[in-house]
């Protein structure tokens, strides 16, 4: 059961990573094209700035979810590192719980924020800016999945099932 879920979660995490990379390539391409057309062909397009700004928000939020799965966010880990390994896993596990509670709250609040913007249109792109704001609830949802799975993995570690 655990191994099957782990494969699913890791697959999801890799898929999100690929989306991030594609977003980064698109952002670079759009800006490079903008500079080229403006300097050499004498025209530019107004939507490029909006599009890349919103893509940056998506890149940051999706990448942050992958970092949560990998426990790779920047932390001050003097205390955890000073503890024996079992106590460290216990502390890390205890810290995941308030984060999960916060993420549930953030999911609800950011969803409401995104919905509230449904009728506001991005001036140049012409689409609803809910699409940009949706990055935060999507991140919160992904983080809830990854965070819950990390709790499960920690519990197994505490019971001595995994290294």
């Amino acid at each position: 059961m655990y191994d099957r879920v782990k494969r699913l979660v890791d697959g999801l995490s890799s898929a999100v990573m690929i989306v991030c990379n594609v977003v980064l390539v698109i952002m670079t391409g759009v800006i490079v094209m903008l500079v080229t057309t403006r300097n050499f062909m004498g025209f530019s397009y107004a939507w490029s700035e909006e599009l890349t700004r919103y893509l940056l928000v998506w890149l940051s939020m999706l990448g942050a979810a992958v970092l949560l799965r990998r426990d790779d966010h920047i932390a001050l880990d003097l205390l955890p590192n000073a503890l024996p390994s079992k106590a460290r896993v216990g502390l890390v596990l205890a810290l995941r719980l308030p984060v999960l509670a916060f993420l549930a709250l953030l999911l609800q609040q950011s969803w409401l924020t995104a919905i509230a913007r449904a009728t506001t249109r991005a001036p140049a792109l012409g689409v609803s800016i809910s699409w940009a704001y949706a990055a935060i609830p999507v991140m919160a949802l992904l983080m809830l999945v990854f965070g819950a799975f990390n709790v499960w993995a920690d519990l197994r570690r505490l019971r001595g099932l995994d290294a």
Binding site: M17, C20, N21, V23, L24, V25, M27, T28, I31, V32, L34, V35, N39, E49, T52, R53, Y54, L56, V57, L59, S60, M61, L62, G63, A64, V66, L67, D72, H73, I74, A75, L76, D77, L78, L79, P80, L91, V92, L95, P98, V99, F102, L105, L106, Q109, S110, L112, T113, A114, A132, Y133, A135, I136
Partner: protein, 431 residues
């Protein structure tokens, strides 16, 4: 919940090891929840979004990508060879080469960590083989890498420019002399220690052909910041666009000239750059929530009134700000110190006659020193890892370098022309 409770909660969560981005988001959420107006909670996603949704900040992923491409292109190896031919034959030559190569690589990287792992793996074994002691070897590698975060391109400068609304072009121009000065000061320390400890003096084979090839490779690195700043001044592109152009430039250099990058390298180059971006921007999102709490509590006015009467003259203000940011740097990432506290000290600095650009460079060099100060510093950790050396031994060897770093910070604060002369000459700030 008042500001005191907020700070206590923040420090407690930080101390137990919660990731710093969540520390900032959780304590802001608690502040809004307990402030009696739960509707404020809706501001949390708003502030996170607004913190990232800034066009200038988009230069950061591009510069991170550029640095990563140049890294994989093994530009550092080429710079090493070239610098070694230039000054490798001096006493303590390899240590000087270490600093000079970092100064050159600073022109293509926006962070300190970008080159420290690559340079460390190359320099530390090579220097130990020549007979340098390991703590010194590791210390000079760690210290010289800081220049990469200061000389443009620089991600931390972009964050400061975005938060404080100053021109990136002016900040980039202003960073050049202080960055070079830091390099020269470190070379001075190296020279002094080399004489004192009689570090090795070796013969280096120099051929005109080798020198020519080396010069071409080094030229690729040196020209990049010049293209960026020149392009911004002339109006070819904005700083963000300049960063995207740098990605193309590094691709061309890596694939056509150095021919060290293969198609198979791209997925991992992109993943590294994406995750580095996300790691930083998640912190920026959290910090912009906290800075809203600070604004609600009117922190800048509070600090200014607290210090009114104590600190009026420039020297005292520079000393107080420097001491405070050095303390923050012991614990916090440079970007966090800048986002949270630069706006707080701005009124104080303006009153003492500092220019916002000058203040920015002063704070940035200061915060970057935090990367090598114990107990917590990313560069400190990476180098201690690469060199297989304890944090304690490495920290002791770093003392003279941290010392000259602090001296440079104070000099920036007290001597406006060090930072402002270049942007003024380029017409990027008013005379």
């Amino acid at each position: 919940m008042g500001i005191v409770e907020f700070i206590v909660l923040f420090l407690a969560l930080l101390a137990v090891g919660l990731p710093i981005g969540f520390v900032m988001l959780l304590s802001s959420a608690a502040y809004f929840l307990l402030s009696g107006n739960p509707l404020f909670l809706r501001m949390l996603p708003e502030k996170m979004f607004a913190g990232i949704d800034v066009f200038v900040l988009m230069a950061i992923p591009f510069f991170l990508l550029t640095g990563e491409i140049m890294n994989r292109a093994q530009l550092t190896d080429r710079l090493f060879t070239f610098c070694n031919m230039l000054i490798g034959r001096l006493r303590g030559g390899l240590a000087q080469v270490n600093v000079l190569a970092s100064v050159m690589f600073a022109g293509v990287t926006g962070v300190a960590l970008g080159d420290v792992a690559a340079l460390g793996k190359m320099f530390i074994p090579a220097m130990v083989r020549q007979g340098y002691d390991k703590p010194f070897t590791a210390a000079i590698t760690a210290a010289s890498s800081l220049i990469g975060a200061i000389i443009p391109p620089s991600t931390i400068i972009i964050i400061y420019a975005a938060v404080m609304n100053v021109s990136v072009g002016a900040m980039f121009a202003a960073a050049i002399f202080p960055g070079l000065l830091l390099g020269v000061a470190m070379m001075g320390v190296v020279q002094w220690l080399s004489w004192k400890r009689q570090y090795p003096k070796v013969h280096v084979e120099v051929t005109p052909m080798g020198l020519a090839i080396g010069f071409r490779d080094a030229f690729f690195a040196i020209i990049m910041p010049i293209i960026i700043i020149r392009g911004i001044i002339v109006g070819w592109f904005t700083p963000t666009e300049a960063a995207a152009i740098c990605v193309v430039y590094s691709l061309v250099v890596g694939t056509l000239f150095l021919r060290t990058i293969r198609l198979a390298d791209f997925p991992s180059i992109l993943s590294t750059a994406s995750l580095d971006t996300a790691r930083l921007f998640f912190i920026i999102a959290g910090a912009s929530a906290v800075s809203w709490v600070f604004a609600m509590e009117n922190m800048p006015a509070l600090v200014t009134s607290l210090l009114a009467g104590v600190a009026e003259d420039r020297l005292t203000v520079v000393l107080i700000i420097t001491a405070f940011f050095l303390f923050c740097g012991l614990w916090l990432d440079a970007s966090i110190s800048i986002i949270l506290f630069a706006p707080v000290v701005l009124p104080l600095a303006l009153k003492a006659g500092l220019h916002p650009v000058q203040l920015g460079i002063m704070l940035i060099v200061n915060c970057v020193l935090g990367l090598i100060t114990p107990p917590v510093g990313n560069v400190l950790f990476v180098v201690s890892n690469v060199a297989r050396l304890g944090i304690g031994a490495l920290s002791r060897a770093l003392v003279p370098f941290i010392g000259v770093g602090v001296a440079v910070v104070l000099l920036i604060g007290l001597w406006p022309d060090l930072t402002l002369a270049l942007p003024r000459a380029f017409g990027l700030i008013r005379p």
